[in-house]
Symmetry: C2
Subunit: 418 residues, 2 copies
């Protein structure tokens, strides 16, 4: 539903929100948690330009319980968005009350936007699945279930950290194919994965699947997600039960949940190649075909210790996914599994169709065999200590205000000694 | 450490605790949560005979925050155990205060013993891994990593339910090998898995592995765990990222956490066959070799709707595991992954070496090809609606008081229509 909160002509009395380059114009209004000092409790805020609006201080909410806010239905979410949009507009009668509730982003710490009960990670990026599959099975990279089942696995919730948290290079068992036995060592093949995370709103009771027609009612919004991966640990441990320690050392997410309402003007049709199987009926709906996809540009940037500014490594689009976010929510619950407010669903790595559009170094370097040449003369196969990986995302469309997701960044620290 | 709380001559003024058949004698003292009515908050209690002692009412704790109790170190845990043992003994001066805090188990509802942040499930039962591997790879059932890596995967925390919760038969995608494409249906191969769950005490900070010498300080205790599994969903979905919807519809645990202190007299040496590789140094310690294993008898019982009393299907022992619980804790954190109080680690299915010791129907029926004959003339390949599966566990040793784990039970409800 596109309403007047998306009007590109609207401007805010928070002047930085009118800067054409900001991720957080009046049309975005993403939710997060902030605090002024590390001994204070987290407070719920909304990003606007280079500030955060303290929602309780502005009189818009009564409690700092983000799960309760997420659990509200879509109509309450839309009413809150409208109140925010109206209060932050030029000429708002609420300006003085809202102005007293504004804090510069530069003066606050941003935390995880919500407590995350369960985190599951899908594999919906077909170009990623194909490229990774090719490294192991050149003749049939995609397994027979790929185009039928939204493949996913459970991830680790405890080690999800907000953007900016340093990432310690993990240790684990490594066994190259030619070695007679494994040993414990720091990973030599540390990688990132470019993903989007779906933040669950109300959720469902155990045993009550969410039909696809209602799936979007349970999506509060989206964050960027870096599924840090240790490829050598993964290769040795992952059979037969899937990735475990190769992933559980850390997952970084961006601090602002961009709502499904903010993304309404950037919906797109969801189509499959005619030769592909069509989704089973439980994963299909007219709305999903007409509007199920999201036109969000995604980017990976790298800053090595030798660089003054980061360099962009690739660009893809969330439309490159093989499954829609509604399909992921419905599939996750079709067996009765319950989703709770704040649960996180990763999309899987969003790579584009081109060889230079891999959403991980594994893809961009053909499994480490073809080093990436950086613009300052350095090369990389996998990440080195001190490297900073930054994920970015934004929506642009003719005649609309650009909205962005902020940054999802992490810098690699050296491993502990083992 | 074995102290006077384990003395088999000790008896309680709670007479039912002196019954030789009780799971909860004075020597056990397991922790759980109970309430008198469904609109009341959960309270922390300790099982004694056929009663529960309300810890706050007895003046032993100040808050009903189980995570805070779990987070206490081993010395605080031992002090609480001593206070409980002394107060519940015959002749205790605290008898009247404790007696006022007793509730009959028959009059309370038992919940999950703690809030579970993350649940991971290992695969440490080598007889199970071998039997399941044989169904797919008769010539080399165990993969090359099995004897080096404690294989595990992340599980779903939201759908963990306490004993007694009915289990709805799940739906999902099914594709038999001979079918040209999958369809959505209720599982036809619903199974249980007999496991023990490790409940984490204090836990570790992100990036700080737990060395094996300290692993047991982070184990609060153990529960029974039924890892319900839909084998047909699993076969179609599990490549390449492991089990997902085949497991996430429900996991049942028993309501009482039997502490590592209660189990102290039932420790056993941990040995491997001489021909097997020895554990890597980070998974090895003199204490682990001398005392790492636990001598706990495990049983699966089945009651079909046609039975008046349940029938025992198998018996195994936690000593049948290939890895110790300390090794599982250390391995899970070797990459820096953080464990939090209340996190749950499943051991994996504990099957014994015999063909009749499979911890799942998949094993007992050779993948459904050899139906199990029940004593009343019925047969089973997989579970039918109305079947109740009951897991039990207990420790017996010459000269010691038997202690038990209570029940971990669930009854199958028919699937919803799809």
């Amino acid at each position: 539903m596109i309403d007047d909160t998306h009007d590109p002509a609207l401007t805010s009395w928070v002047e930085s929100a009118n800067d054409p380059g900001t991720d957080f114009p009046l049309q975005n209004l993403p939710f997060g948690r902030f605090r002024g000092a590390s001994n204070e409790p987290w407070r719920i805020g909304v990003a606007i330009g280079d500030c955060v609006l303290d929602l309780a201080a502005a009189g818009l909410i009564d409690s700092q319980d983000m799960a309760a806010l997420l659990a509200q239905g879509a109509s309450r979410r839309r009413a809150l968005r409208r109140a925010l949009s109206q209060g932050l507009r030029h000429g708002s009668a609420e300006r003085s009350r809202f102005e007293a509730a504004l804090r510069p982003l530069a003066q606050v710490e941003l935390g995880l936007p919500c407590d995350i009960g369960d985190y599951s990670d899908f594999y919906a990026g077909i170009h990623h699945a194909t490229a990774v599959g090719k490294l192991m099975r050149p003749d049939h990279p995609l397994l027979p279930n790929y185009k039928w089942v939204p493949i996913g696995y459970h991830g680790r919730a405890s080690s999800i950290v907000p953007s900016g948290t340093p990432i310690r290079r993990p240790c684990g068992q490594i066994k190259p194919a030619e070695a007679p036995q494994p040993w414990l060592a720091a990973t030599r093949r540390l990688d990132y994965e470019l993903e989007m995370g779906i933040v669950i709103g109300p959720g469902n009771a155990l045993g009550e699947p969410i039909p696809i027609a209602q799936a979007e009612d349970h999506i509060f919004g989206f964050v960027l997600l870096n599924d840090w991966s240790a490829r050598d640990l993964q290769a040795w441990e992952y059979q037969p039960l899937g990735p475990f320690l190769a992933k559980s050392f850390a997952t970084t997410i961006s601090p602002w949940i961009v709502t499904l309402e903010a993304l309404a003007p950037f919906r797109a049709p969801y189509e499959r190649p005619a030769a592909d199987p069509q989704p089973l009926p439980y994963l299909d709906s007219p709305h999903n075909r007409a509007h199920g996809a999201l036109d969000i540009t995604l980017e990976v940037w790298l800053r090595t210790p030798a660089m003054r500014v980061p360099q962009r490594l690739m660009r893809s689009n969330l439309r490159d996914l093989y499954w829609t976010v509604a399909q992921l929510v419905t599939h996750q619950t079709v067996n009765g599994c319950n989703l709770r407010p704040g649960d996180l669903l990763g999309t899987g790595t969003v790579s584009g169709p081109g060889e230079d559009q891999g959403g991980s170094l594994l893809e961009l370097t053909a499994g480490g065999r073809r080093p990436l040449n950086l613009s300052n003369g350095e090369t990389r196969t996998f990440l080195q200590d001190g490297d900073t990986v930054i994920l970015r995302a934004y929506c642009v469309r003719e005649g609309l205000r650009r909205i962005g997701f902020g940054e999802c960044a992490g810098t690699i620290l050296p491993a502990r000694e083992v």
